[in-house]
Symmetry: C2
Subunit: 326 residues, 2 copies
Amino acid sequence: MENALKNENEKFYIGLDIGGTKILGALFNDKGDILKRDKKKTKADEGAEAIMKQIAKVIDALIEEIDLDQVVALGAGVPGIIDGKNGIVIFSPNMNWENFRLKEEIEKKYGLKTFIGNDVNVGTLGEWKYGAGKDFKNIVGIFVGTGVGGGLIINGAMHEGVIGAAGEIGHMVLNPDGPYCGCGSKGCLESYASKTAMQNEIMAQLRRGRKTLLAEKIESEKIIRSESLKEAYERQDELTIEIIDRSAYYLGLGAANIINLLNPELIIFGGGVIESMGDIYLPKIEETALKYSMPKMFESCRIKPAKLGDDAGVYGAMGLILENMK
Amino acid sequence: MENALKNENEKFYIGLDIGGTKILGALFNDKGDILKRDKKKTKADEGAEAIMKQIAKVIDALIEEIDLDQVVALGAGVPGIIDGKNGIVIFSPNMNWENFRLKEEIEKKYGLKTFIGNDVNVGTLGEWKYGAGKDFKNIVGIFVGTGVGGGLIINGAMHEGVIGAAGEIGHMVLNPDGPYCGCGSKGCLESYASKTAMQNEIMAQLRRGRKTLLAEKIESEKIIRSESLKEAYERQDELTIEIIDRSAYYLGLGAANIINLLNPELIIFGGGVIESMGDIYLPKIEETALKYSMPKMFESCRIKPAKLGDDAGVYGAMGLILENMK
């Protein structure tokens, strides 16, 4: 690694995963190896200038030992609706950005060719190029954490949609009379399957006087940790089993609808919940997906866990550069 | 037209819409004008050989006045799962075909370059190239008749999926506890919105003693005609209004899910039901789609009625040739 950084002929790439809480950065070589990492708080509540300073700190740390001229380009994933072609963040509640010219800002400061995309699309791109999706061309990524997000690779290209908002799998309605969702709609996949939904359900059941091993955790943790859910599940806590089953069931329904609509060859499940409990979730998801999808289409679709964990974003940002420069 | 057929330098194209009941054929010139049409019964229950004879009759009628050498290629839409690359009908219950090498059969008999695709995908392609979807690149076609079918145009290309079965919009689950669907799943869009679903609901309500203007029609018509539904609706028949509202509501939900997932710029609604009652259906569909989709994505998506009616299939078959030969 050290040597690579000191080789003047080496070409480098910067991948950023810009989130509402933290900014992850990685310096890549030509082969897609990570040579260096950095991480800073986003400071999203302090405004665009503060965020840009934090981004700059990450970039500066990554290029500390190399010459800026050796960096070919920078890629970044950002939550929200992204106009990738023009490098504009159309709308990002997490970042408090609206019509923010992120590409221009970075290019102005560093003279670095910059490409941006939606964080979940970029994460799916990462899994496609460097993770569970290698050698596949039609992939749907579903990421389950505090929310449920998705990304689409269609015929070997990232599908961004007409305003860069494609892949809102979490807001697929699975029951029009279901619970209200944060988006204002009802019965969305997210309102059944996300960690937030699980937490809400646990709290509601606690208020009804039900017992659960999670009672204490839910008070001490701001949002329940996947590890806590896993532990209670393994200790056969009845309520935990119930809500995880429900979450997995609706994820299976979502997968079935995607199989029937897009006939993909691979669905990758990732995000914190799947990372800790993939072995519990995936068989349940497959069982439901089989029940609700067309048999021949189900057979032709593999369902796999993500491989890159938190690195999917920076790898995807690297992939975004290569996709745009090829 | 006559002149065109007698011009020895003119190039022609054959478009076929092969259905379980009838085969529609059209002869096109270079500009995509229909010069001649033909139509025969499919005779699907008499086996593959009988069907091929009927297809041959349509082709023979179309080329009667021209030289076979003047025909550049033939395109065909067929219901079922189609392997377009190899020209094989993988599975078509309507035609009683399984792994049927349709392309090879036609090429062997006529020496005509042949391209095949799923009928609904091909119909959507027709609307894209010659109908309501001109100048758009991301289109979803939803066709409502005895069933509900769909086709996808993604980034300016027909999306067939990994086994050629993409677009099964009719089997998107909108309520996992909904009515059983013919596909074996439950609460599919088709089980609420198709003419078959409406007919089943009318019959169930008749058995409960409800009155409707459709009572007689439903006895005399094998499957209720869209025109009969329209007439009863306009005469403010209460049950008819109820089932049409329900059908449109679920179509709106399906549209919302598609908007959230694919972020398309256009959804085209077609098929017999929409052809007769588009002015009744479309406002209701839009109202529900707005309620259940993300506002910015809804705003960026137009919803339009199909333009080509029964001709979508043959136009699409012509489009399929051009797409494959470009």
